[in-house]
């Protein structure tokens, strides 16, 4: 868990005002502890990613939500695909073969 202050100190390029704007736009979703936002590891990694997109790749502030939304959908789809793949892998061989066969017929 990291607070806003720690994150701003850790990531050199990060502007506090930007981070606060991202929170307001719910581009990042910190948790709350004693009335102050705190960032679990996954959210810290997300902030670092947004910093790369915004500062290094110079994606416009207005375009940033579009990029993130597409990326979130990609990761959601990946999570579902992983679940499905694991579910298929756990089946008997006959079931797996039937699924592979059906996919090939598409």
């Amino acid at each position: 868990m990291m607070g806003i202050e720690e994150l701003v100190n850790e990531i050199a390029a990060l502007q506090r005002a930007d981070l606060e704007a991202w929170i307001a736009e719910t581009l990042v979703s910190p948790e709350e502890e004693a009335g102050a936002p705190v960032f679990p590891e996954m959210e810290c990694a997300r902030v670092r990613l947004i910093c790369t997109l915004r500062y290094d790749l110079e994606i416009e502030a207005e375009t940033l939500p579009v990029v993130l939304s597409l990326m979130d959908q990609l990761y959601d789809t990946r999570a579902r695909l992983n679940s499905l793949t694991a579910a298929v892998a756990a089946q008997d061989e006959s079931v797996r073969e039937a699924i592979l066969k059906a996919m090939g017929r598409e």
Binding site: L49, T52, D56, M71, T77, A79, R80, N82, A90
Partner: protein, 314 residues
């Protein structure tokens, strides 16, 4: 670390704008979060950003060019990328549900197909929905494990290697029984969507022992004694499941005489009380010629002459 100019693919005379542009192109291509399946992206991007960190700073670049610092000073500490979490088991979706197509239909189909195991379907509406991924427990797997008589009697730890190379630690409990099933929680197939792993079931197959036999918690063993030990009595060494012990053979013992070694049996799993070892003596005559013994028996007049077969012949 490699030469930062080489890493970014720019000339040593490149302008700041050229460096920035080269970095942006490479970052698009190699940022791990934008290429979640590219295993090499992380290492590549680490080099790329370290090179950029060094060359974008005019002072650092000047000192590097002058040979005052080397490229290693710019190396970045290990960082965990977003993709590790987003592809991980604890992932909570950030995706907005409004206005985008969702895969809810697929999940509902799966939940039905798997008999309603797909708990936690997203309600939609809120941006930060509860886990939208299909969750299910991994499958159970079962194995059989051959164990020796003594391993089962006294308990043992065994490591078994599964066909996929995975190893399992199996603790064989003291007093384990043939066909006993051990359950190793969470050692089955992995769960999916953050669901718990299945269990491994290990069925023990006990091999018989050359001379020990087990009846309930008691160990039975037939122990040969010499004619002399049987007639005169004496102290003999006998095997038990925990090693040899010394016991007394009473004077005038016979084949079939049973003696009890207290608490030398198998500890009962439920009561914690150990059984006994029941020793059945078997008198054996000496192998080879014993002329003195024969001569003695020739002249021997038994005090209690008796026909041991009388009951069979009457």
């Amino acid at each position: 670390m490699k030469d930062p100019y080489e890493t970014l693919g720019v000339a040593r005379t490149a302008s700041d704008a050229e460096i920035k542009s080269a970095f942006k192109k490479l970052a698009r291509k190699f940022h791990p979060d934008l290429h979640p399946d590219d295993k090499e992206a992380e290492a590549r991007f680490k080099d790329i950003s370290a090179a950029h960190d060094l060359l974008k700073d005019p002072e650092k670049r000047r000192r590097f060019d002058a040979g005052e610092i080397d490229a290693s000073g710019a190396e970045r500490p290990q960082q965990r990328y977003y993709r590790e979490y987003a592809d991980g088991p604890g992932y909570t979706s950030h995706a907005a549900q409004d206005g985008f197509a969702s895969n809810e239909d697929l999940e509902e189909f799966l939940a039905r197909a798997f008999g309603g195991m797909g708990a936690g379907m997203g309600g939609g509406g809120s941006r930060r929905q509860s886990s939208a991924t299909f969750k299910a427990r991994g499958q159970d797997v079962s194995y059989t494990l051959p164990v020796t008589f003594l391993e089962a009697a006294t308990g043992a730890k065994r490591t078994i290697t599964l066909p996929d190379g995975k190893t399992l630690q199996v603790t064989i409990p003291e007093g384990a029984e043939d066909r006993q099933m051990l359950r190793l929680k969470g050692q089955g197939m992995p769960g999916f969507g953050g669901g718990p792993a299945g269990d491994a079931y290990v069925e023990l197959h006990l091999a018989p022992h050359a001379f020990f036999q087990r009846k309930d918690d008691n160990i039975h063993v037939e122990v040969p004694v010499t004619l002399k030990e049987a007639v005169l009595g004496g102290r003999i060494e006998v095997p038990t499941i925990t090693g040899p012990v010394t016991m007394t053979v009473p004077k005038g013992s016979n084949t079939g005489t049973t003696l009890r070694l207290r608490d030398k049996g198998v500890r009962n799993r439920k009561t914690g009380v150990a059984g006994h070892q029941i020793v059945t003596l078997k008198v054996v005559l000496p192998e080879g010629d014993e002329p003195e013994l024969a001569a003695f028996l020739e002249s021997w007049k038994p005090k209690h002459p008796d026909d041991p077969r009388k009951e069979m012949l009457s």
